[in-house]
Symmetry: C2
Subunit: 96 residues, 2 copies
């Protein structure tokens, strides 16, 4: 296999990652709306610990658990940013 | 839909993300072996720019391009760490 072959494989994975990361973000927006409607806090620390436990349990490698947790810290940070943006930008009942 | 419903959806996406991030890491390891065998540099800055251009072009939102680039910076940083680890740990022809 050539370098180009593996890069093409990575490009395909990246396209799927872009799709999934955005799908996750959509679900986070749904949760933000729900929390807003129900007056729930944006941040549930237990939920974050649960997400980390799940991803480490499902990890087949070669990434180690620490690498996965670093990556999901970034993913969750972007989710939280999106959640706060949504709440700050739209407080009307049209969105929520 | 309840909060639990959306969390279950996110958990499913996260499992798929774990699978894909590890698949990407496997491909990165293949590339590391190839570069090592062919005496190529580990880091190709043009390739990184190409990856960012591709993911931004494929981005349907709601994440914006900047968020995606931040996420892929983290993903590429973990790839690079894995690539360096592999090269530092195994220099024998058994691995490469």
């Amino acid at each position: 296999m050539t370098l180009q072959y593996w890069r093409d494989q990575i490009d395909q994975v990246d396209e799927e990652l872009v799709r999934l990361l955005n799908r996750r973000a959509q679900y986070v927006q749904e949760i933000a709306k729900l929390k807003h409607r129900q007056g729930l806090p944006v941040h549930f620390p237990d939920r974050e610990a649960q997400v980390f436990a799940r991803i480490c349990a499902a990890n087949p490698g070669p990434l180690d658990g620490e690498a996965l947790i670093r990556l999901f810290h970034s993913i969750i940070a972007e989710s939280r940013r999106l959640e706060h943006d949504l709440i700050n930008r739209h407080t009307s009942s049209e969105v929520f």
